[in-house]
Symmetry: C2
Subunit: 139 residues, 2 copies
């Protein structure tokens, strides 16, 4: 079991496990925002993954992006591996709207995270978990 980077652990809540990735929900009420963290210790870059893992990563990212897009009727999905601050490989999946606080810029570094009230966070996590349920694995 890969230990999650403490910053990822603090900044996001667990949604569930897909075969390769931990799926998390970012604690920023400004944007519907999921995170995928592949269970591959020590990997920092997508191009360090072997071909099979890369394919699973993009399939799982697409699954989460598609589900999140449907749930919130997103205008656009932003999918990105940045990792300048947290080294552990992680992929952001952010639902965007022309009315959101950063549009048309990407979300990173524009505004500080806006805390959720706990019920709203729980409802958001549950909505994504339900959408992914047929593909989630127990580990």
């Amino acid at each position: 079991m890969t230990v999650l980077d403490p910053r990822i652990e603090a900044d996001s809540a667990p949604v569930g496990r897909l075969p390769l990735c931990h799926v998390r929900w970012m604690r920023d009420a400004r944007y519907p925002w999921a995170l995928l963290v592949p269970e591959r210790p020590g990997v920092r870059e997508i191009h360090e993954l072997d071909e099979r893992d890369r394919h699973v990563l993009i399939d799982e990212s697409a699954l989460v992006a598609s589900a999140l897009s449907r749930i919130v009727s997103a205008h656009k999905m932003n999918v990105a591996a940045i990792g300048n601050v947290v080294a552990q490989l992680h992929v952001h999946v952010v639902a965007r709207f022309p009315t959101d606080d950063a549009w048309p810029r990407p979300v990173w570094g524009v505004h500080p995270a806006l805390p959720y009230d706990p019920e709203t966070l729980e409802a958001r996590v549950a909505s994504l978990r339900n959408a992914l349920a047929p593909r989630l694995v127990d580990l």
Copy 2:
């Protein structure tokens, strides 16, 4: 042949063609920065691609990221599909350094593009083209 979005055409120079993607070099001397544009008219989101295309896209992105990272001895690669401004699906591959103008933030929206002198741009394009040469296709 997919027509490139005019903004992509203006903001980047052609490097070559991989089986799925046009590879371009961004005209911003602040960062070594490539762009992949899949030859799939009308597609805006990675999750709209079929599974086979998705796999080729992440393989071609990883190939470009790995080549660019080696060429410039990057500290970190940023790989992202944003597309809030230009709808045509495109993937950014940006080599990052703790000394660059936006670090540790992502590059988008932080600084205006810094023009290249033509010789430097040509040399950058040639270096990536040479690194990708065995995989480039003529179309």
